[in-house]
């Protein structure tokens, strides 16, 4: 019995247990939308702009660990996915993007709404396809899900011409995926793991650096076991937040440009750095030649191309972090590091994470309070800017997949649509999108999507009418010559929220408002914008100046009364 390409696609998505497709319709995807209508298992989530569809799919994927799916039409629909695909690519997030294309007979003629999305997305997807024959479609879709979710995860795009999705064919279920050129290495080399155990045995000042790879390989329990067994402090990258509970005494919080002082000191002074699923981004290492100068560096990663890319390592292990740690745990014995941990404790006491006094409303304080009220268990999504760094610094994450943020690409406009995906992925969780007035305005039209889906997301909006992280850069690097960073046309965000059916707007203006307003928002069960009016003077500290090593960071200025009392 013949079915259309579109029907075959939806059938396959159902078999893959896809529950949501985030999308926006158009002429080139009519057959696909027609087929979705017939599905009882898949729900279509209509976004307000395609970029939000891919961000939502990525938020969904980050929470569930399974591929998020988005759908856009040809031409402008497809190009609107580009930022989100690049975001997912940089952060290794499994996303399957489906785009419509003009009919195969029209390809190359500059037809209406034609764009070479296959060519455009080559550098920002793990792999992509242009399906010219409907008979190839089942195999391609199966391969796409396989590639997106195995090895180092990443986005995969499938471009389907409209005559292909509309074509009737004799559907044959695809056989097992066998790609000659794609065989990820999961098991670490036993000799290398043995060497690592030896390094650990010899080390006196070890530090574990956990990245996003720990989260994507679900290695948090193995990480916890290793840290406790060898008594090594654990720092994480931005992408690794939540991999290790920050209320644990071995936790150092985040490393890097805006990392905690004690993480930066510990890494600069350690003699063994065990790096798990990280890619040594310049925001993490600052200057490669000055990074962990006294340490033997061990790098465990599933992607061989990451090893030796930015930092020269002493011991590379290619493999899945979880499987490598499982093997490693069998080979290491209990270790104590009293004097090293004493030193780390001393750094924590001498250089704690601080912020200015509460004579005014401080965003750091709001985030800290949110952390207390939710006991570090909410799903936090962020946009990009000062608020993102404060969320990373002051919300004490206790579980993996609870910090959803654009780490690598630094995509403003990510947080709120990602929260839509996150809330659908985990309907019982409290999802808070922490954002700034600049970032929120990039995708605030998604209020409509969240309203339509009855999602009780909390949007914690820090409004200082400034693009404040850029303002901060201009403060430090351009001698306070501020240009293009002031927003004088901001709406009343509380009223804006109130104008959406079922949504509410709340405002925090003073430190004493924080707790009651947050509690009200947490308990109201509604889509809520909480606008915090904060000072534009606030800067993110600590900060490592360009070209400096991590331990040369600038701390919170004493004259500004750095305290969190």
């Amino acid at each position: 019995m013949g079915i259309t390409g579109a029907q075959a696609l939806i059938k396959f998505l159902e078999e893959e247990h896809v529950k949501y497709i985030f999308g926006y319709p158009g002429g080139a995807v009519l057959a696909l939308y027609d087929a979705i209508l017939e599905s009882k298992k898949i729900k279509h989530v209509l976004v307000r702009q395609e970029q939000a569809a891919v961000h939502a799919a990525s938020g969904y994927a980050r929470v569930t660990g399974r591929p998020g799916v988005c759908l856009a039409t040809s031409g402008p629909g497809a190009t609107n996915l580009v930022t989100g695909l690049a975001t997912a690519y940089m952060d290794s997030i499994p996303v399957v993007a489906i785009t419509g294309q003009v009919g195969t007979d029209m390809i190359g003629t500059d037809a209406f709404q034609e764009v070479d999305i296959f060519g455009i997305t080559m550098p920002i997807t793990k792999h992509n396809y242009l399906v010219k024959d409907v008979n190839d479609l089942p195999k391609v879709v199966k391969e796409a899900f396989h590639i997106a979710s195995t090895g180092r995860p990443g986005p995969v795009l499938i471009d389907i011409p409209k005559n292909v999705s509309g074509a009737v064919f004799d559907y044959q279920p695809p056989g097992p995926v066998d790609l000659r050129g794609y065989k990820p290495t999961y098991k670490g080399h036993p000799a290398q793991i043995k060497n690592l155990a030896k390094f650990i045995q010899e080390a006196e000042r070890p530090v574990i650096l956990a990245g996003g790879g720990v989260i994507s390989s679900n290695a948090n329990e193995e990480l916890y076991a290793l840290a406790e067994k060898i008594n090594a402090p654990v720092t994480t990258t931005l992408m690794g937040l939540g991999a290790f509970p920050e209320d644990h005494q071995l936790s150092l919080g985040m490393l890097g440009l805006h990392g905690t002082p004690y993480a930066n000191y510990a890494v600069t002074n350690c003699d063994l750095l065990i790096s798990l699923g990280v890619r040594f981004d310049d925001r993490v290492i600052s200057v490669a030649s000055k990074f962990a100068p006294q340490a033997k560096i061990v790098h465990i990663d599933i992607d061989p191309a990451e090893i030796g890319k930015n930092v020269i390592v002493d011991l590379p292990i290619v493999g899945d972090v979880r499987l490598v740690l499982e093997e490693l745990l069998k080979k290491v014995t209990k270790k104590e590091h009293h004097s090293w941990l004493q030193q780390v404790k001393a750094w924590k006491e001498s250089h704690p994470m601080v912020y200015g006094n509460l004579s005014q409303l401080r965003p750091q304080y709001v985030i800290e309070k949110l952390g207390e009220l939710t006991r570090g268990k909410a799903i936090i999504t962020t946009d990009v800017g000062q608020h993102q760094m404060w969320a990373a610094q002051f919300y004490k994450f206790t579980k993996p997949r609870s910090f959803i943020s654009s780490g690598g690409l630094g995509t403003m406009g990510y947080g709120f649509p990602a929260a839509v995906g996150a809330q659908l992925a985990s309907p019982d969780s409290l999802v808070v999108a922490i954002t700034g007035d600049g970032s929120f305005q990039m995708n605030m039209a998604e209020m409509g999507t969240a309203t339509e889906q009855c999602l009780p997301i909390k949007i914690l909006l820090f409004n200082n009418s400034y693009l404040s992280l850029v303002r901060q850069l201009q403060h430090f690097l351009c001698g306070k010559r501020y240009c293009g960073v002031e927003f004088t046309g901001n709406p009343d965000f509380v009223q804006l929220a109130n104008s959406y059916p079922g949504a509410v707007g709340l405002r925090i203006e003073k430190p004493e408002d924080v707790e009651p307003v947050l509690k009200e928002a947490i308990n109201n069960g509604k889509l809520t914008v909480i606008e915090c009016r904060v000072s534009e003077e606030e800067l993110v500290y600590p900060v490592v100046p360009p070209g400096r090593s991590l331990d040369e960071m600038i701390h919170y200025p004493v004259e500004e009364g750095g305290t969190n009392e």
Binding site: M122, K126, H127, R180, G181, Y182, A305, G308
Partner: protein, 169 residues
């Protein structure tokens, strides 16, 4: 240092773009890239000459290998291998000096493949050094047009690095 990479790839549309694009966006310098299908019509082989130190070449190789369409990649620089390049040169050749040009062609074991009223087209194959030498030997006559294929290379001896289909399928 120049490295010669033998790369087996799926013979599919877009693969060349993927590879060339990877070089461009990561800032690696391709010296030459020659591509054609192997005895297996589903597989193409590329010979890529790339300039860089060991770290660069390691990154190039790893990044290339990450591409789903890349089946196998071998750096044959330090192997014993045979390499060839082909050149077609159209050179000014008034009847009076044709003899002189023909002598040069003879020395390089090249061939004249076309004769015009005032020009000749010469075909030569050989390693890069030989091709460079014939090009400079003919330059004084006035070169009108040159086309070079870029290097193709194959390891000597019994090693199977040339994409034998039975090995791969």
């Amino acid at each position: 240092m120049k490295h010669t990479l033998a790369v087996l790839v799926e013979n599919r549309p877009g693969v060349l773009t993927r590879i060339a694009g990877l070089f461009a966006r990561r800032g690696y310098n391709i010296d030459s890239l020659a591509v054609g299908r192997t005895d297996n019509p589903l597989i193409s082989r590329m010979t890529i000459v790339v300039d860089g130190d060991d770290r660069v070449i390691e990154q190039v190789s790893k990044q290339l290998y990450k591409l789903i369409d890349v089946i196998k990649l071998t750096d044959i620089t330090n192997d014993e291998y045979v390499d060839r390049e082909m050149i077609l040169i159209k050179v000014n050749a008034d009847p009076a000096i044709r003899g002189e040009i023909m002598q040069i062609v003879e020395i390089f074991r090249a061939r004249i493949v076309d004769i015009g009223r005032n020009s000749l087209i010469i075909e030569a194959t050989g390693d890069e050094g030989k091709i460079n030498a014939i090009e400079s030997a003919l330059r004084p006559f006035g070169i009108r047009e040159v086309v070079r294929t870029g290097k193709i290379a194959m390891s000597r001896g019994p090693k199977h690095k040339n994409g034998k289909s039975q090995e791969l399928l």
